[in-house]
Symmetry: C2
């Protein structure tokens, strides 16, 4: 019996990686790359234009992140199937991507065969989360969610602010800052702000890019 050709959209900002993916996939029987995008905005446009069966997407994208793309596209096309293809960027992204509706999460280190098998599986309606990722997800499940305010404070900590500066920045008293810190230290399972900062970075709660001196 005839297999339907799987129509794929590749979203990836690194030229050589994207070109490589397209080249690899286009020689596979039953898979056709119908379009490509190099950032989140393009991705949404290309999705609308081609309505692919599967969208292969990196999470780190210029202009609009992968998670946002998944959310927005699935808002208008709930059946859209996404396979996240990324290097490890911290537990938080994995969680958010799957929450947003991604069906599979692959690390860039996987083999071509794994990639193709996953595309076929997801197209067939299955889900695919590698053990290493499932592991991270399980760990993350055991941890408490930070409140919005605690996240604000944590972000300031990562940016190297003192309690006094944080209080000024968020327009609350230093006492309140301490309260939030005490609470978030417990939730993160750490004992001081430095540990909180590294935990936030490694878990992807606060993106590393934001460290390159913004603050105007």
């Amino acid at each position: 019996m005839e297999q339907e050709t799987i129509r794929v959209l590749v979203v990836e900002d690194h030229h050589v990686v994207r070109q490589g993916l397209v080249a690899l996939l286009n020689v596979v029987d039953g898979i056709e790359v119908v379009s490509q995008a190099a950032d989140g905005v393009e991705a949404i446009a290309e999705f609308r234009k081609h309505l692919p069966h599967i969208t292969l997407i990196d999470l780190r994208l210029p202009r609009l992140g992968g998670v946002d793309v998944i959310q927005r596209v699935r808002m208008e096309t709930p059946g859209a199937r996404f396979i996240v293809l990324t290097t490890y960027d911290g537990d938080e992204d994995i969680y958010r991507a799957l929450q947003a509706g991604a069906r599979a999460y692959l690390l860039k280190g996987m083999t071509t065969d794994e990639l193709i098998a996953t595309i076929r599986a997801v197209h067939a309606g299955k889900q695919h989360i590698p053990p290493a990722i499932a592991q991270k997800l399980a760990e993350r499940m055991g941890t408490e969610e930070l409140t919005p305010r605690e996240n604000d404070v944590l972000e300031q900590i990562v940016h190297g602010k003192s309690n006094k500066e944080i209080a000024a920045e968020l327009d609350i008293s230093e006492a309140t800052v301490k309260t939030h810190i005490n609470s978030l230290l417990g939730k993160l399972g750490v004992t001081d702000r430095t540990q909180a900062a590294t935990a936030a970075i490694q878990r992807g709660i606060v993106p590393l890019e934001s460290l390159r001196k913004p603050k105007p």
Copy 2:
């Protein structure tokens, strides 16, 4: 007149990226990928076997890092020409790679044309550092070098240790720890340990991987 074919070795641990690079380069006239390697140890072996004109190498490699590969290979083959091809991993890696003798440093976001042009340029004996990288390099030049001991202390700070714990770990007094910290804070241009930790991570002085709970 006849151009000599440039023989290239591709060293990259991510399958799809490596395959993509090879596919892209092999269709280019005058360039031939003679071998591939997925980690640092393989890289050295393949280099010895094929003695390529150009080695395209990622810095993040299993078993043996890219910087070490460059150092060791150039020890026995001083004329070896390396092009570092990586995502941005912190200023420190750029510096070390160029110190080790890399001739060019490209970000993975570059176009295929840029890549090919750089390969040709390096093969012709030129050097190629993109402006963005040169910028980082210049910044790093202005900063003071940390002493070995200060680096030890900084690493402990990043791992969330208190001064007392650091003293125990390094078998020195807490007073000495404070001395080192005071010194390294000045050199890093920061005012407290939390800022020192994030600076160390972002500059690649302490690798982010080492945070995933080691310590047996």
